[in-house]
């Protein structure tokens, strides 16, 4: 745990009724420590049940955990407490966009922008949602195409999550996916990282290069294994360890995708996340080649 987070957690412990828990929840979310983030967010809510920011923080944790229904409810409570709460409008805009309700998404995002006019992430989100809304009223094939290229197959409310995959930077390719900020890594068969980031499950420091180097030859080895054992073509490899689960797949001929999640995430769910991430990785790689 970094010093800053440790200090923050100490502050929360020292003053459970204070507001340090809001920053602590964000810091824990950023590190992917969802269980701990949930614990701190709920403890904060107990002390501040009428604070919109507390419900906003809890909603963000719920989105990270994929519990969109409860997140919707929490942001609804936040707005009931503070109708001009920018974070809640942004979150509801995200969820509405995600379910294809562009009109509601635009309403909330415009209110979010009114509440926080300098928030560039909201401006970016508005652009994406307006484009999607326009595509939705275009002739059928275009609608299909827009759905097919849904830039937000999953969670996390931030600016990058609203950007189309081909417009994302290497650091933000997986933004919006659960664990995209710390446990998704794209690398080539020679062990060179291409995009994403992998953090050490315990210490939190970046280990992208090291792990990519160790897994560099995995594609050829897996192919050799399945050929010799007559198992067909390899699709993915899952390694469950005491401190986490690693999932490796090949979204493109010249790229490997690694997902790392803690053991609280069931292996099957890791597989689902991998499929979503692979789709985004493929589109991003195609855009880089143009």
């Amino acid at each position: 745990m970094p010093e800053s987070l440790r200090a923050l957690m100490a502050e929360v412990e020292r003053d459970p009724g204070g507001l340090a828990f809001l920053r602590a929840v964000e810091a824990l979310r950023a590190r992917g420590q969802l269980d701990e983030a949930a614990r701190v967010a709920l403890a904060g809510l107990e002390h501040h049940p009428n604070l919109a920011d507390a419900h906003d923080a809890w909603a963000r944790v719920l989105v990270d955990a994929g519990d969109f229904e409860r997140a919707w409810d929490e942001w609804g409570i936040a707005l009931a407490l503070d109708p001009r709460h920018g974070g809640a409008h942004k979150g509801l805009g995200f969820l509405a966009y995600r379910r294809g309700d562009f009109e509601t998404a635009l309403d909330h995002l415009e209110l979010a922008l009114a509440a926080e006019p300098t928030d560039r992430s909201v401006v970016q989100a508005l652009k994406v949602v307006r484009a999607a809304a326009e595509a939705a009223v275009a002739p059928a094939p275009a609608v299909e195409s827009a759905r097919e290229h849904d830039p937000m197959p999953s969670a996390a409310v931030n600016a990058q999550a609203f950007a189309a995959p081909d417009a994302r930077t290497p650091e933000s390719v997986f933004a919006g996916l659960e664990g995209g900020e710390y446990g998704m890594l794209l690398f080539d068969p020679r062990g060179r990282t291409l995009a994403g980031v992998l953090r050490d499950a315990r210490a939190g420091h970046i280990v992208s290069d090291e792990v990519a180097a160790y897994l560099a030859g995995v594609s050829q080895e897996a192919a050799r294994t399945t050929r010799l054992l007559e198992l067909g073509e390899w699709r993915w490899i899952l390694a469950e360890a005491e401190g986490g689960t690693l999932h490796v797949s090949r979204p493109a001929e010249d790229a490997l995708l690694l997902l790392a999640r803690d053991r609280s995430v069931p292996a099957g769910r890791v597989g689902i996340l991998a499929v979503r991430a692979a789709d985004i990785a493929r589109r991003w790689l195609e855009a880089q080649r143009l």
Binding site: L229, L231, I237, A241, A260
Partner: protein
């Protein structure tokens, strides 16, 4: 091979879709014991599984997740499953693509315990 180990390997191979189970020395990829269907190449399975496991052990350790407790290579026509046991031994199963992984994993863990 002791009766207990034999029994443990047989329990794995009784699962529908499992083509065979092998006890492998993780360090050198040599077969310690096997229960394989005809046509399954035990030595190849052992060597390849040991090698893949070592590579992933380095990766999971580098990622701060510690050593793997279960490795699953999924292919279009089959799968390779590995569970580590005591003294560097690996329990390896070769199976169909649509194997009940949960059940196989459970029996492999039991086999690993039998070897301890």
């Amino acid at each position: 091979m002791t009766a207990r180990i034999r029994q443990a390997l047989d329990a794995i191979t009784r699962i529908r879709g499992v083509h065979g189970a092998v006890l492998v020395s993780g360090d050198d990829g040599l077969v310690v014991a096997e229960a394989l269907m005809e046509g399954v190449r035990g030595h190849a399975v052992a060597a390849l599984a040991a090698s893949r496991f070592q590579r992933f052990r380095r990766a999971t350790e580098a990622a701060g997740a510690m050593a793997p407790e279960f490795l699953h290579l999924q292919a279009t026509d089959g799968s390779l499953l590995v569970v580590p046991a005591a003294n560097g031994v690996l329990i390896v199963a070769v199976a169909a693509a649509d194997i009940n992984v949960g059940l196989a994993r459970l029996e492999m863990i039991r086999a690993a315990e039998a070897f301890a």
